[in-house]
């Protein structure tokens, strides 16, 4: 399997994840790699069975791929630490994967500040994973600021979901 095929597989897997995930999942790879929205049409089994502990589906649904933050904060609360500790255990057991930690902000701030705030949140999640023994070489971070909310409603219950760091798993592409 060449690199391009692998990328496509990951894109397809994430697109599928987005369809399966009622919270909307994470579809940023489409834009990031210049693929159009049509990539979601590719059928693939790469997501795997959530009952398979080494599958991406298992990571997303059982381990939990995201943590949430208070308004204008990047401090990890107890729930977030537990989730990240679980991610670290899974990554230790599945060394074939690398991760991209995406930091996101809610819509209640200015665009530039939110990019910086998302970077801080992604870094907080990354540092915790590193403290749990995951090599920094396996982790990349990016901030989407307020550009990619998962919930669109103009209310606190949606903003709570949008202030997040999402761990996106892929196979050896972080390099």
């Amino acid at each position: 399997m060449n690199l391009t095929t692998k990328v496509l597989m990951v894109v397809a897997a994430l697109a599928l994840a987005a369809c399966n995930n009622p919270r909307g999942g994470s579809g940023q790879w489409d834009d990031a790699n210049g693929f159009g929205p049509g990539a979601g049409g590719i059928q693939s089994g790469a997501l795997g069975d959530p009952n398979d502990p080494s599958s991406i589906a298992h990571f997303q649904q059982r381990v939990g791929d995201r943590v949430f933050f208070d308004t204008d904060a990047s401090t990890l609360n107890d729930t977030a630490r537990q989730t990240l500790a679980g991610q670290a255990r899974w990554l230790s057991s599945n060394p074939q994967y690398t991760i991209l930690v995406e930091g996101h902000a809610d819509e209640r701030g200015t665009r530039e500040y939110n990019v910086a705030l998302g970077a801080r949140r992604a870094n907080a999640a990354m540092q915790y994973l590193v403290s749990q023994g995951i090599s920094a070489n396996r982790i990349r971070t990016v901030s989407y600021g307020k550009e990619r909310p998962v919930e669109a409603c103009p209310e606190p219950r949606c903003w709570n979901q949008n202030r997040r760091a999402v761990t996106v798993v892929s196979t050896g592409l972080a390099g």
């Binding site: 579809g27 819509e107 200015t110 500040y113 970077a119 989407y144 550009e147 990619r148």
Partner: protein
């Protein structure tokens, strides 16, 4: 494209009534500022809600001096009327109310006919077309005092640029009457949005300040944010997620070629803005969760770190003399505005009101700094003097952000988003008057005003 056929106009004295409506708007702005200047002690913040009586004016269809000019005679006067009316300082008297008919550009003006309909200013014009070249002339009359105001002017150019000629006439009229620089012959670069909020497609676009002539600069495959014009309007800086990581791109508006600038592997770069000489940019660089400000010389690539703090510093903007940079930082715990020397050094906090402050932008006049403020769940566009005094909030809504200055420093455009609605571009003048939505083909955000075109 501009040929001035006669010596530059001298501003001639006008009678009190003419001055009245005109300067009333400006006096209101200055008066408001003066009122704040007198108060010392704690900051006093107020949303200005002045109302003035706009000056009535008439702009009959321009006289077509040949048959090819006929198609433009009405269009030119319509664009001029819209420009002036949209300032809120002027009110057009419609052609249906006119008594006199302007059939010759050089025939004497019958002042009594215009006084009878209460016009205080009259703009007459003529247009002729030869092939794809056109010539546009205009004169401005002070109806109250019964005299021409300044000399007539003539503009020549391509018929494709007919709107620009209407904007040039509008700028000349506006400048003569208000004593301020014009801003109609300018463009706005912005982000055109489409698609669902969770997977928004964002394209760079550019248009005339009145929303005409929209052109798209990117295809929407990559997320783009916050474009900024160079001081001569020939280049833009913007941030794109094309590679998956936010990076700054420099685009040449002439040939649409672009290049990555300021990139450093393992970092995110964003929030760029040109220096007043166009030779360098200031921007934010994030690494390890910390965001600092840097300056990059765009010709030799030399990089200077301007801030070094374990916090966020972003949204930098140069003073028009290039000596200082205003920016936003949360080093105190919440986002506030700071001013520092343009090569770094000690930063002085200038915002002390309640709430969070962001996206400061220095006025092209140097007198004011516009900003976004959020407080108690509301967002505002405001202005303060560059030392932080005389803060005034101009707007309030669910989400107002990202001010940009008109070239004359009298009008501010910004992004407004209503709760659950799409973002749109709005403008307001610095007195807080004349809040208007700018027409765009769809949802739009992140406007940046160009300088006045040459």
């Amino acid at each position: 494209m501009t040929d001035i056929s006669m010596p530059p106009a001298l501003r001639v004295p006008v009678m009190a009534r003419l001055i009245l409506a005109l300067t009333a708007g400006l006096a209101l702005m200055l008066g408001a500022a003066a009122a704040f200047a007198q108060s010392s002690g704690p900051l006093r913040i107020e949303i200005t809600e002045g109302v003035i009586e706009p000056m009535p004016f008439a702009v009959p269809a321009f006289v077509a001096e040949n048959s090819a000019g006929q198609q433009f005679s009405d269009q030119l006067s319509r664009v001029i009327a819209a420009n002036l009316s949209n300032t809120g300082l002027f009110r057009e008297i419609p052609a249906s109310a006119h008594i006199a008919r302007i059939t010759s550009f050089d025939a004497p003006v019958q002042y009594s006919d215009w006084r009878a309909i209460n016009a205080q200013a009259l703009i007459t014009g003529a247009v002729s077309v030869q092939g794809n070249r056109m010539s546009v002339k205009f004169r401005l009359f002070d109806i109250v005092s019964g005299r021409q105001m300044g000399d007539g002017l003539q503009f020549q150019g391509s018929t494709d640029a007919w709107r620009r000629m209407a904007h040039k006439v509008s700028d000349a009229v506006y400048s003569r009457i208000t004593g301020e620089g014009g801003y109609f012959d300018s463009r706005v670069v912005f982000v055109a949005e489409s698609g669902p909020r969770e997977n928004r497609v964002k394209r760079l676009a550019v248009m005339d300040q009145d929303g005409a002539n929209v052109e798209y600069l990117t295809d929407g495959r990559a997320l783009v944010i916050a474009p900024r014009f160079s001081p001569t309007g020939d280049r833009i800086l913007y941030t794109s997620y094309e590679t998956g990581t936010p990076r700054i791109y420099l685009m040449d508006m002439g040939n649409m070629r672009r290049q990555v600038v300021g990139d450093q592997p393992g970092t995110m770069t964003f929030a760029p803005r040109f220096s007043p000489d166009g030779g360098s940019m200031v921007y934010s660089l994030s690494v390890g969760g910390t965001t600092d400000l840097f300056r990059l010389n765009l010709s030799n690539g030399q990089r200077t770190q301007l801030t070094n703090a374990p916090s966020i510093a972003t949204a930098p903007s140069f003073s028009p003399d290039g000596n200082r940079v205003v920016f936003e930082s949360d080093r105190s715990g919440t986002s506030q505005l700071y001013v520092m020397p343009a090569n770094g050094g000690e930063a002085r906090r200038i915002s002390f009101g309640q709430g969070r402050y962001g996206t400061p932008v220095w006025s092209p006049r140097g007198d004011l700094i516009a900003f976004t403020k959020s407080h108690q769940g509301r967002f505002h566009i405001g202005v303060m003097r560059s030392d932080g005094s005389e803060e005034r909030l101009l707007t309030a809504s669910f989400l107002d952000e990202g001010p940009t200055w008109a070239p004359n420093g009298r009008v501010i455009m910004f992004t407004r988003e209503t709760a659950g609605g799409d973002p749109a571009l709005w403008s307001v003048d610095i007195s807080g008057r004349n809040l208007r939505r700018i027409p765009t083909p769809g949802p739009a955000s992140d406007p940046a005003w160009s300088p006045l075109r040459q």
